[in-house]
């Protein structure tokens, strides 16, 4: 995988992860172009598209689009499930995750992603193992603070 982008229906970038070296300028350009392309697509269209020399695999969860760029020989369907597994991990960690969780706890979203994918490849697919690694950090934390409560974008819960 070359990069993963999370952005909202309004086109706001919520998370970006780059697995290939690119300049900031180029990253911004790619983001702008892709967000536009993906948002322009209609709901029933297929989740894959050719873009430059890459394949884009994307899926929308409630208000948030998850979008991965993979190389020619990579498997589209399994990438779709990479996205889903990541959503599940976020959901399990935050408890009914929603866009706000990712905005306010962006660093956590990055940590979870690093445990799941490293260098653009799947590192660990077991939900248990990934979350175990993340929760270790939380157990080390003295301070506890309750944050806001929010609704889910996975499953049947309605997004705000």
């Amino acid at each position: 995988m070359q990069f993963m982008l999370l952005f909202s229906r309004q086109g706001k970038l919520r998370l970006q992860k780059w697995y290939v070296p690119l300049s900031d300028k180029e990253k911004k350009k790619i983001t702008r172009e892709l967000v536009q392309t993906v948002l322009a697509r209609k709901p029933k269209m297929c989740s894959f598209l050719e873009w430059r020399d890459l394949k884009i695999v994307y899926k929308r969860y409630a208000s948030l689009y998850f979008c991965c760029a993979i190389e020619d020989q990579d498997n589209e369907l399994i990438t779709l499930e990479i996205i889903h597994r990541y959503v599940e991990l976020l959901d399990k960690y935050f408890g009914s995750v929603c866009e706000l969780d990712i905005i306010f706890n962006f660093e956590k979203a990055y940590f979870i992603l690093d445990e799941f994918l490293l260098g653009g490849e799947v590192q660990e697919t077991s939900k248990k193992n990934v979350l175990k690694a993340i929760e270790q950090a939380d157990l080390l934390q003295e301070k506890t603070e309750t944050m806001y409560h929010s609704k889910s974008f996975i499953g049947y819960k309605k997004a705000y």
Binding site: L77, I78, E81, E107, L118, T125, N129, M147
Partner: protein
């Protein structure tokens, strides 16, 4: 209680994020951010030492600001400080900041590397993983230099925790991808392969990715992974849906690992060991069988995971291309998906079937789905799916279904998305030509193309139809009639006028008998379009008019009137003006006989590869059109469609100049009447010198035309000179002088200069190369005041070179007077690709003492480079097509000269490739493309040069269709910077 509450809430951060979200305008947001930046700056600069928590909080805020898209130019030091905190979350934030905002400030890198080193040595697995993640996220060369040697050790150490091994494997993979030269192969490689046997599925999952990447570059070193991968795969495939516990995903056992293992196997040919192969075939069959079983869950995740494995299995079956039974089963499975209600599956099935269509085992099976695919072309709502359907129709086309497919594609063209029209036009044109049974159908199809999508009909397409009509007299009358009818339309496309003008100029006489298309009618029809056309078309029409004067003397007066009109004779456009003047004069001064000779019908074009096919290949990469190239499926297709010659399989990029009608510039000035004795005034509209030797020589062409039949020496000379005219064998000459290589390198990117100089002798070189031919002038200057005796320079071909390069030389005078210079001409023809340059041996006597000197002649393979321009998209497609490991050669090297972009550009152009702008996402990089022209084959070459000014390094990547060429070009070019 929500899980977050376990986390490290940073109240200040949450407040800040809320503030930003509450900003009503962009200005308000920027104001808030600037306030925060000022606050953080003052905190960082303040006298009071910050505690770890505050530092973490501020660093995290900076990170948030950066991710919003603002620049951050401070805080790096504080982040680095966090790395050495013993609080996990502080360390973690520090690493995150570094990962996202790497700064190649060398001082900082040293500190970062130090912190990483400490964590790697800490034996605390969580800290080790954080450090490894950071290296993998940054992946810079500096980090590679610092850690590439340590990580393999961590990876295979017996006492490393599983999670550490996983991170180490993927960290190494990232470093290897960035700088392969830094990762030492060694004893650890064998142990890495055995990680495929590891008990921990996560470790296997990570390790397979690493092995897949490593084995592409060193397939032999990793061969043992085949049997291990097969047995692992077999265990997964045959396991029950719950055996693998947390590695089962929606009732599918270990889908990610399965897909990765199947990918790994695609790096190799089918296993040689019969037992291993048997076991693998069993696995593949099991996967195909499972596809027929009822789903264990209705969730889309279940079917996606299952089908991901299925598609990867089919990819492997296609990769092997050796099991007819499996290929046909794969095809049937894809056939089911073609009608699936999931758009994603239809898309993937169409895509996958495209590759199946080119296998001889499954081509027929693919064809049975033609109706479904045509239906997809008509009814799919998503343009990307329709595009796949069009690709598949093209791939499955053969003589039996060509008419149907072509007419469906024509129909589709009327409503097709603009983005893909040109490609469809090319495809239709190629199929129509390739599978034409009668040429009237072909002519109809092309004229239809122009009618429906004239704007998308490129020059290659309409050149080609003219070429075919010219070469086939059975279709000329029909073509003239049809085009005449097409021109009756009140608004017809300019391309139609071009084709019409040309065809009527050549063959209008064939329909002149019919009063409805009598010569005056033909002329007035064409001339009615004249004023609406571009300069190029008007120039073409003027040529048609002069041809009419020859064909139909009765139109002479009218046409002369047109030519004489002020709007022609004094046209602001020189080209039009010149044609009008010359044609007018020609028609007045030349006798009927001369006119008839000059304006004779065009001779047949030599048969070459279709220029359209070449264009499509340029658009789509070499694989795209290959199914049509080899004619394997259609043995009867040779002569009637002889226009498309089978190309040698090694040829991947036909050069634009190899096109029969390849000249794409505006028509050059017509040959002046005086020199037009050879006839064919029109030929220059379309043709380059290489394809049309009969054209009167211009100074430029003369350079090469002299080369063409290797001019035999006069027979007298052979008899008169008993000395062997042949080159002396390599044993007769000394080894090249020590600096020969260095001297040769100077000429890789240039053609002229001083090749050698000492106190006695200076050797200068001037050379020119075109396509696979070259001419070199060597100038031998005697620097002394004494005559050289027995002066004899000879060219020697060591080793196989004789079969690769033909060099003809003429002898030079045996005496060279003091202070004088003699010239030697070398005619060079590149027969096939070569690695070593020929040797130049110079012997003479100076003051009685024999002198001998052997140099390398500056003829390197890149001299036969023809630059090729292409758009970014084409480049990437071609790049992708050349992705076999052996097609790529890469070198990373220190800069030997100052890194100046302009100098680099000049060198690359001198090297012979075209420089392509706006292709590489990084504007610092250089990307080039070209074709090596040899007599036997053409080799398409793509190159990319990535300078790294900080490190004073370059990375050079060459991809060509031929392994030895990639390596050789890479070596040659790497020495130039």
């Amino acid at each position: 209680m929500p899980a977050v509450s376990k986390g490290d809430g940073m109240r200040g951060l949450a407040v800040f994020i809320s503030d930003i979200r509450n900003c009503k305008s962009k200005e308000a947001e920027i104001k808030r951010i600037n306030k925060e930046l000022a606050n953080i700056r003052s905190k960082f600069k303040g006298d009071k030492a910050l505690d770890g928590y505050s530092k973490k909080k501020y660093v995290c805020k900076l990170l948030f600001i950066f991710l919003l898209g603002h620049d951050i130019d401070f805080g790096h030091m504080e982040a680095v400080n966090l790395l050495s905190s013993n609080k996990y979350t502080e360390k973690q934030i520090g690493y995150l900041f570094i990962s996202v905002l790497v700064n190649s400030n060398s001082e900082l890198i040293r500190l970062i590397n130090n912190a990483i080193k400490n964590d790697l040595a800490s034996r605390n697995p969580t800290f080790m993983c954080l450090a490894l993640h950071c290296i993998a996220n940054v992946g810079s060369r500096e980090m590679g230099e610092a850690f590439a040697a340590d990580i393999p050790r961590i990876l295979v150490a017996g006492d490393s925790m599983d999670s550490v091994k996983q991170s180490a494997a993927l960290c190494l993979l990232r470093l290897y991808k960035a700088s392969p030269d830094l990762v030492p192969m060694g004893e650890w490689t064998a142990r890495v392969v055995h990680l495929l046997n590891d008990q921990h599925m996560g470790v296997v999952t990570a390790a397979v990715s690493l092995i897949t990447c490593l084995c592409k570059k060193n397939p032999d070193d990793f061969k043992t992974c085949i049997s291990l991968a097969v047995s692992r795969l077999s265990r997964i495939v045959s396991s029950a849906s719950t055996d693998l516990q947390d590695y089962t995903y929606y009732f599918v056992p270990a889908p990610w690992l399965s897909v990765k293992l199947l990918r790994l196997l695609q790096c190799y040919p089918p296993p040689e060991d019969a037992a291993v192969k048997g076991r693998l075939v069993e696995c593949l069959e099991t996967v195909l069988n499972k596809a027929q079983e009822p789903p264990k869950s209705k969730k889309v995740q279940h079917s996606n995971a299952k089908n991901a494995i299925l598609f990867e299995t089919i990819s492997l079956i296609i990769h092997y291309d050796s099991e007819p039974n499996l290929l046909v089963r794969a095809c049937n499975q894809l056939g089911q998906f073609l009608q699936h209600r999931e758009t994603n599956l239809r898309y993937l099935a169409l895509e996958s079937m495209c590759t199946l269509a080119s296998s001889e085992f499954s081509h027929e099976a693919v064809k049975t789905h033609i109706d479904t695919v045509i239906n997809a072309l008509k009814t799919e709502r998503d343009v990307s799916v329709r595009q796949r359907a069009a690709d598949l129709l093209y791939a499955m086309c053969d003589r039996s279904n060509a008419k149907q497919i072509v007419s469906e594609m024509l129909r589709y063209l009327e409503t097709a998305d603009y983005a893909i029209r040109e490609e469809i036009v090319l495809k239709v044109a190629i199929l129509a030509e390739k599978y034409a049974v009668d040429y009237s159908w072909y002519v109809d199809t092309i004229l239809n193309l122009i009618r429906i999508a004239g704007d998308y009909v490129s020059e290659e397409v309409w050149y080609r139809v003219l070429q075919i009509v010219t070469n086939r007299d059975d279709v000329q009358g029909y073509a003239a009639k049809t085009v005449f009818e097409a021109l009756q339309a009140p608004a017809c496309h300019e391309n139609m006028v071009k084709v019409g003008g040309y065809i009527l100029g050549e063959f209008g006489n064939l329909i002149a008998g019919d009063p409805r298309s009598s010569p005056p009618v033909q002329f007035s029809l064409l001339h009615s379009k004249f004023h609406l056309c571009s300069v190029a078309t008007r120039a073409l029409l003027l040529s048609t008019y002069i041809k009419f004067i020859n064909l139909f003397p009765e139109t002479k007066a009218t046409i002369q009137g047109v030519l004489r009109a002020g709007s022609q004779l004094r046209n602001a456009d020189v080209e039009l003006q010149q044609r009008a003047v010359e044609y007018l004069t020609l028609s007045s001064v030349a006798s009927t006989d001369v006119l008839a000779t000059v304006l004779e019908e065009m001779p047949p074009f030599p048969e070459r590869e279709s220029s359209i096919l070449a264009k499509l290949k340029r658009k789509k990469g070499p694989g795209a059109a290959s199914a049509l190239d080899d004619g394997r499926r259609d043995p009867s297709s040779n002569d009637i469609n002889g226009g498309v010659e089978p190309t040698p399989s090694t040829v991947s990029t036909p050069s634009p100049s190899a096109d029969l009608l390849g000249l794409r510039a505006a028509p050059p000035p017509a040959a002046p009447p005086a020199s037009a004795g050879a006839g064919n005034l029109l030929v220059d509209v379309f043709d380059g010198p290489a394809a049309q030797p009969s054209l009167g020589p211009t100074p430029e062409e003369a350079f090469l035309s002299e080369l063409e039949p290797p001019a035999p020496e006069s027979p007298m000379a052979l008899l008169a000179d008993p000395a062997p005219a042949a080159d002396p064998g390599p044993e007769d000459i000394g080894p090249p002088i020590p600096e020969a290589d260095e001297l040769l390198n100077k000429f890789v990117c240039k053609n002229n200069g001083v090749l050698f100089e000492n106190q006695l002798l200076q050797i200068g070189v001037k050379s020119e190369f075109r396509q696979n031919l070259g001419r070199m002038y060597l100038f031998y200057g005697n620097k002394t005041s004494v005559q050289f005796q027995n002066f004899s320079p000879t060219v020697v071909h060591p080793g196989d070179l004789q079969t690769q390069l033909a060099v003809q030389t003429k002898r030079v005078a045996a005496q060279v007077d003091g202070g004088a210079q003699v010239q030697q001409v070398l005619n060079i023809e590149c027969l096939r690709d070569f690695l070593t340059p020929p040797l130049l041996s110079v012997r003479f006597r100076y003051g009685g003492a024999p002198q001998a000197l052997t140099l390398k002649l500056p003829v390197t393979i890149n001299k036969f480079f023809q630059p090729t321009e292409m758009a970014a998209q084409d480049f990437f497609q071609r790049w992708k097509q050349l992705s076999l490991p052996q097609q790529e050669a890469q070198k990373i090297f220190k800069a030997n000269h100052p890194m100046d972009a302009e100098v680099t550009k000049a060198k690359l152009l001198g090297f012979g490739s075209a420089l392509l702008d706006n292709v590489d996402p990084n504007p610092e990089n250089f990307v080039g493309a070209g074709i090596i022209q040899t007599k036997a084959l053409q080799v398409g070459c793509l190159l990319r040069l990535e300078p790294n000014a900080q490190a004073q390094m370059y990375r050079l990547t060459l991809r060509t269709s031929k392994e030895s060429v990639s390596r050789h070009l890479c070596e040659l070019l790497a020495q130039q910077f």
